[in-house]
């Protein structure tokens, strides 16, 4: 189990952390320097990109002819939605499928799906709230039971259920299998959210960039700011995914080894007592 894990995570056994065989404790997963550098690089780029998007979006780009200053929320809201719906939940669905597929079955995919869903849920909450903040001055209400809004809320509830399910105590393989089924079921909602603006008469506007004609309805500095927002938030998602995945690796290692360690400690205590003479033990001999 640990071999499979360390081979697929960029984590290698650390020589200092190698443990003697008679304890049953396996090698502790340690992050390689290459993985650490990659993570720092992506994190720094994400931070710079996000700051630049906010600067361009709030201070540099002009107000829109129709929406006025409210258009500034459009530089960040679609990017957040892109990460939540397509990247995070899409990746969770693909990972779950690869876990269920017998030839690619590995806890690596299960852990990746879990990490992706958690990050996706955070972005999904940001999507709904930022959309609601935009909707109040534009539509006059904080919330409407519009097809896209409702389906996005349903998606959030389903993936919250996925996270709750993962907390139910079970063997790792059992947990992985049932979580994968739930993730695939929930991910069916993603294309429904995407096409909802075409299939139903909704209040939510249609796609600005990835529309049916593939002709973007946004230009100039507005388009570049929107694009930068997408790139920055994608990098932020990748960074969060790496850190969250690493948390999963460490949690699983602790869960696997704590019992072995407790047994080893009891054995070493027993060895200490056996070394003592009977008189040392209270003279009960």
């Amino acid at each position: 189990m640990t071999d499979d894990r360390s081979a697929s995570t960029g984590t290698l056994p650390h020589p200092q952390a190698s443990v003697a065989p008679n304890t049953g404790v396996t090698l502790a997963p340690v992050q390689t320097s290459r993985a650490r550098v990659t993570e720092y690089t992506i994190g720094t780029l994400a931070l710079v990109g996000t700051v630049a998007t906010v600067w361009l979006g709030v201070w540099v780009t002009p107000p829109d002819k129709v929406q006025g200053d409210l258009v500034r929320l459009v530089y960040i809201h679609p990017g957040v939605a892109w990460v939540a719906l397509y990247l995070a939940f899409g990746l969770a669905a693909v990972s779950s499928l690869l876990y269920l597929w017998p030839r690619t079955r590995s806890l690596f995919w299960d852990r990746l799906a879990a990490a992706s869903v958690e990050v996706g849920v955070v972005f999904n909450i940001c999507t709904l709230v930022s959309g609601s903040i935009w909707g109040k001055p534009t539509w006059g209400v904080w919330w409407v039971w519009d097809a896209r809004l409702t389906l996005t809320a349903v998606l959030l509830i389903m993936f919250l259920g996925y996270m709750a399910l993962r907390r139910v105590p079970a063997e790792p393989e059992v947990r992985a299998r049932r979580s994968a089924f739930v993730a695939l079921f929930a991910a069916v909602d993603v294309p429904l959210v995407h096409f909802s603006v075409n299939w139903w008469n909704t209040l939510h506007q249609g796609a600005t960039v990835l529309n049916a004609n593939l002709s973007p309805q946004i230009h100039g500095s507005m388009a570049w700011t929107l694009l930068l927002g997408f790139v920055a938030l994608t990098l932020l998602f990748v960074w969060m995914l790496l850190v969250r995945y690493r948390i999963g690796v460490l949690e699983d290692w602790l869960a696997d080894n704590e019992l072995d360690l407790a047994l080893a400690e009891r054995q070493s205590e027993g060895a200490g007592l056996d070394d003592k003479s009977p008189s040392d033990q209270g003279g009960a001999a």
Binding site: V25, V129, S130, E258, A284
Partner: protein, 69 residues
């Protein structure tokens, strides 16, 4: 403009707090793993002792000196 500021502030604060929480959680777990690994090394240095057979009795009822093993 207050809606714009509110939207940006909400998203940035949530993402920042989540990122901080991730880093804190990872650091705490990494520390726990290294502590477990250290304790395991100490435990491994001790000579292995076979577990005592209790033959259905409570472990407290089996004196260490009478260990059949």
């Amino acid at each position: 403009m207050r809606y714009v500021v509110g939207g940006y502030v909400f998203i940035l604060v949530v993402l920042f707090l989540y990122a901080v929480q991730l880093v804190w959680r990872r650091r705490r777990l990494a520390r726990a793993v290294s502590q477990v690994a250290q304790v395991a090394q100490v435990a491994a240095a001790a000579p292995p002792v076979p577990l005592r057979a209790t033959a259905g009795r409570s472990i407290d009822a089996v004196p260490i000196a009478e260990d059949p093993t």
